[in-house]
């Protein structure tokens, strides 16, 4: 819906146009000398791609009357007024989106009662244009700028050698033990990144953890099985694992058949992974990514085969199921911290620090918002609305 703010007054007519309008009135035989007592304003609709003019009409009667009103438009070059489709007398604010960019338009309101015809003052010329910046989204731009500042600021700070502390995350600390367990038992590790595609941030975080896990499984020569829901994730995972094996000095141990595509059907995937678990009996299950309803099915089956399970997901609902059924769970953004936590990359740790400060800012805004709500400061709430 377009924002229909009150506009400034009528445009000043140029001399030639003023003459045209005067002639127009004199030539109309049934024109009343008084004119319609309405105020018509027309401006280019702001913050849009153009081809739109917004009109405000004040002074129209609210109750039913015998006067029939019509809104007329003319391009200045055409010199002929046509009825504007879609306007009705109830519309005190109307958006005319049947105009062309760059063309000068005039508007007038016509009232007819029996044989008597009256016109309002002609407004215009007004030209519709597309804007290059949506001013209603200035608050979003400011928010983006603040996020950039915090995150980039800390990344640059980290590049200068500053070390940032990240608290211990039990789930990630347990990954090493889980891999060791599988090695000792001589059983494979099952890895799943859930249902997310590569554009999901949780899937990217999962790939980071996969890189670290793969490096260790390469060192210990533990089989790593990774059934995939998405073919692009599969291709990425194969690259990630190969790089990890190469980094560990065992590229020959990499088996691409262990990282395979299954199906893009949610429960078909769950059935396939369950089958793999019951047949291959993995010692460790690692579930990191986006999971939906199949989460509990996977976790319960893993539990039934006696696997140690570590899970992390961005889904709030499935977290509850994982907490019940798994041994360790990464909650919320602990999953996104994984890449920095495991690699100790200073830039990533810096961005995590920036994230934390942003969270503190959000908490502060929530507190202020709560107080604003109690005190009735609606202007504060409006600061956060998006145009």
């Amino acid at each position: 819906m377009k924002n229909l703010q009150p506009f400034a007054g009528t445009y000043m007519l140029r001399p030639k146009l003023a003459t045209f309008c005067l002639v127009f009135f004199l030539l109309t035989s049934t024109v009343s000398a008084a004119g319609l007592p309405v105020k018509l304003n027309a401006v280019d609709t702001p913050n849009d791609k153009g081809e739109s003019i917004t009109l405000t009409i004040e002074g129209l009667p609210q109750e039913a009357s015998e006067v029939e009103y019509e809104l007329l438009r003319s391009a200045v070059e055409d010199n002929s007024f046509q009825v504007v489709e879609g306007w009705s007398v109830k519309d005190t604010v109307f958006v005319d989106d049947n105009v062309e960019n760059g063309v000068e338009y005039l508007y007038v309101l016509k009232g007819t009662e029996d044989q008597d015809v009256q016109f309002s003052a002609v407004v215009g010329p007004v030209i519709s244009r597309g804007q290059w910046f949506n001013t209603e989204r200035t608050n979003v731009l400011l928010g983006v700028a603040i996020c950039f500042l915090f995150i980039l600021g800390f990344v640059l700070y980290a590049r200068r050698g500053k070390k940032f502390y990240v608290r211990p995350i039990a789930g990630l600390q347990a990954v090493d033990n889980a891999i060791g367990r599988a090695t000792e038992m001589g059983k494979p590790i099952l890895y799943s990144s859930g249902l997310g595609k590569m554009d999901r941030v949780a899937t990217m975080a999962s790939m980071n953890i996969l890189a670290s896990v793969a490096e260790k499984t390469a060192e210990y020569n533990t089989p790593l099985i990774f059934p995939n829901y998405d073919p692009v994730v599969m291709a990425t995972a194969q690259e990630v694992v190969f790089e990890a094996y190469s980094k560990a000095g065992h590229p020959e141990a990499f088996n691409p058949d262990n990282i395979f595509f299954v199906t893009q059907s949610q429960f078909g995937y769950a059935a396939a992974v369950n089958g793999i678990m019951t047949r291959q009996l993995p010692a460790t299950n690692l579930f990191f990514g986006t999971f939906e309803a199949e989460a509990l099915i996977l976790a319960e089956t893993g539990n039934s085969v006696g696997a140690l399970q570590i899970a992390g997901t961005d889904s709030t609902i499935q977290l509850s199921f994982f907490i019940v059924a798994c041994d360790y769970t990464l909650i919320g953004e602990e999953l996104f911290v994984a890449s920095g936590y495991l690699t100790k990359d200073p830039q990533i740790l810096g961005s995590i620090k920036g994230q934390d400060f942003l969270k503190a800012l959000v908490v502060l805004l929530i507190l202020i918002g709560g107080i604003a709500g109690i005190l009735g400061w609606n202007w504060f709430v409006k600061l956060f609305s998006i145009g």
Partner: protein, 212 residues
Amino acid sequence: MSKKHEMARRIPIIVCFVFGLFMLVQFFVPHRLSGAAYETVLDWMQIVFVFTLLVGAISYAKLNVKKVSRTESGWGYNAIGLVGLAVMVILGLWKGTGEETPFLWMFNNVQAPMQSTMFALLAFFVASAAYRGFRARSWEAGLLLVVAIVVMLGRVPLGSFISHWIPDAANWILRTPSMAAKRGIYIGIGLGTISTSLRIILGIERTYLGGK
């Protein structure tokens, strides 16, 4: 690192930066030109996605054919998978996917019931997980137990049959403390998403390229 390899890594990073920045900037630019470019990018996204489906189908077929041809352990299941894939593709291309076609019959009478059955397994798993997991080992666990019982009863007609306080309490739990906790997690996830997205656009995060 060879020059070719270096270029292979640099080009995707540049492409990612350009398109990431464009999609960010166009949100603030309502002009027609920005809109036209934006719609073109959206069309490209759809086209690229369709080709990724091909990758999946080929990968699936390749792996299963390999297992069947080598008669590896469980090769019968791989053969069934291949037959299923072939049958649905042939039926869809041959008779179409509309009303009263064999494809739709297979979907309605084979695929949908099988998938619904898998979903229905959740009921059993939830019961066994709840039986195992909901133990009042501490006061927090006890509180969780009580809340779970109230919500479970409150979300079915039985709750209001027992007492109108149960559905009222269940609705309050869902609308207030549960909602507040989820909101907190969403905010954290949202900030994590912003941070990760920024790292990807700026080339700091390169996981999608297959590691470092």
